[in-house]
Amino acid sequence: MTTRRNILPGFGISTGFTLAYMSLVVLIPLSAVFLKAASVEWSQFWATITAPRLIASYKLTLGTSFVSALLNAGFGLLVAWVLARYEFPFKRIVDALVDLPFALPTAVAGIALTAIYSQNGWFGRYLEPLGIKVAFTPLGIVVALMFVGLPFVVRNVQPVLEDLDSEIEEAARSLGATRWQTFRLVIVPTVLPALLTGFALAFARGLGEYGSVVFISGNLPNTQISSLLINTKLEQYDYAGATAIAVVMLILSFALLLGINLLQSRTRRFQETA
């Protein structure tokens, strides 16, 4: 496009309102965390974020988020595949259901999952005799994070699978590739960027998730996630401590957000050239 003058009105007012609103509601409040952190003595800040209880919480938060995102990548790929490729009864309802974790408030998911997996629950009563404790253990956190993270994987992978030309697969097959080779060498490379994006989004969501986790984790010494510790510090009016943990988590989420944006722009490029 040449330097054609843009005749559309409202640039000033729409951009001005956008910037003002973003600043007031998002950016200034978020900067409060960093300003507060800057006012804390470095040694005290460091002591807070490296306390054994916090190190344990980072490990737990990162570990459960990673495991649940990994499981979701597998199950999400399966669900996306089935929805994109096969016809079966009630498919539209099943497809709508995949978005349930986006629509269901996290606190509701939290109490429902706790009820299911606790000692007397629908699943808990059968798992407990087998020695598998889910509620009030890190495993419960994984279950909750799988619930909230699943749609991220399915909704990223599904459109790519739907667009994937079945002729390419047929070409591979007619050239003598086995079903497994076609899957491994044709389908997997095509969906990989979308699968990675879905995995990263589910992982990022897991790091910050609170509502569904607090109920099933039960706030025991070995099930305290980082978000919960921020809240505990706040309830003790330890603003400096809460802020210090928040800074660590924010830096982590920003890094992930940046990575996800890069991944998504690569996925788009890939789809455009494909």
């Binding site: 005749i7 559309l8 009105p9 007012i13 729409s14 951009t15 309102f17 956008t18 910037l19 609103y21 973003m22 509601v25 998002v26 409040p29 978020l30 965390v33 507060k36 199950f75 399966l78 669900v79 595949w81 089935v82 929805l83 096969y86 709508a96 995949v98 349930l100 986006f102 629509a103 408030p105 996290t106 606190a107 509701v108 109490i111 429902a112 619930f147 079945s166 002729e167 697969e169 047929e170 097959r173 990022a204 910050g208 998730e209 609170y210 509502g211 109920f215 980082s226 978000s227 919960l228 921020i230 809240n231 706040l234 603003y239 928040a246 924010l250 989420s253 957000l257 940046l258 944006n261």
Partner: protein, 277 residues
């Protein structure tokens, strides 16, 4: 669909694998998604319709419903206006820093809900930036309704803009330019050309924004202070009842949010169908 018969032919050879995969996927979804959904209603009606009704018409429950609706009634229209303005600015014009703005738009999605609440405590709380000034003038934001509204606004900022931007990007600016050249005013162009074009994506964004506004837990929990009958939203009321081991009550109130989620999903499907038309 031209290639449908071809596809079914390639698949017909392995019906066994197909049904195995479908079976696995459905069992997985039944265990992880359908069971929690059913649990809510089974637990809510565990002691019958009477106990269910009592839990919902109880004054504290009603006040939590009222507060939730109020917070959504402020946050959703404001964020809808913001979403339209942001999408208009980002998709119809080119300016320096546009990509940064698009990235910043996602920030509330990337931040833990607890941190979303914390930031408002740091600003308006007793030891916060302007906390002392607010206390002097007897204005309460934290542990009061304004804080809840602010936190709700923060977590729902991106929803409408996120839905509108790709749609308006794809549409370009030719139609609006044509209207303007033909003599329409800016507002006429917006209401007669742009708005009809984006109405379904706009609806979609508003639906998602409303669901999140009514269901937000973490951010609101931090700023609310859990004052019964005053600063409890529906999710917070659920938490209190649950922690008091009043499971029937907790699930009864939670069933309202679950119904909202089901309606959201149905509307979402409907709007998706309208968009694809």
């Amino acid at each position: 669909m031209e290639d449908t018969p071809k596809r079914s032919r390639t698949n017909s050879g392995n019906a066994f694998i197909r049904w195995l995969l479908i079976g696995f996927a459905l069992v997985f979804l039944a265990v992880f998604l359908v069971t929690p959904l059913l649990t809510v209603f089974v637990e809510a009606f565990a002691k019958g319709w009477g106990a269910y009704k009592t839990a919902i018409v109880e004054p504290d429950a009603l006040s939590s419903i009222y507060l939730t609706l109020m917070a959504a009634a402020v946050a959703v229209p404001v964020n809808t206006m913001f979403g339209i303005a942001a999408a208009w600015s980002i998709t119809k014009f080119d300016f320096i820093g546009k990509n940064v703005l698009v990235t910043l738009l996602d920030l509330p999605f990337a931040v833990s809900p607890i941190i979303s609440g914390l930031i408002f405590v740091l600003m308006f709380g007793a030891q916060g930036w302007i906390g002392p000034w607010l206390a002097e003038h007897d204005i309460r934001i934290i542990f009061a309704v304004p804080g809840i509204i602010l936190a709700t606004m923060f977590v729902t900022v991106p929803f409408v803009a996120r839905e509108l931007i790709p749609h308006m990007q794809a549409q370009g600016r030719e139609e609006e330019e044509a209207a303007l050249v033909l003599g329409a005013t800016g507002l006429q162009t917006f209401f007669r050309v742009t708005l009809p074009n984006i109405r379904w994506s706009l609806m979609y964004g508003i639906i998602l924004c409303t669901a999140r506004a009514m269901g937000e837990f973490g951010a609101v929990a931090v700023v609310s202070g859990h004052i019964r009958g005053q600063t409890n939203t529906i999710p917070l009321h659920v938490e209190i009842l649950y922690n008091e081991y009043n499971f029937v009550g907790a699930f009864a109130v939670a069933s309202l949010l679950t119904l909202m989620a089901i309606v959201t999903l149905a509307l979402k499907k409907f709007v998706e169908w309208k968009i694809s038309e």
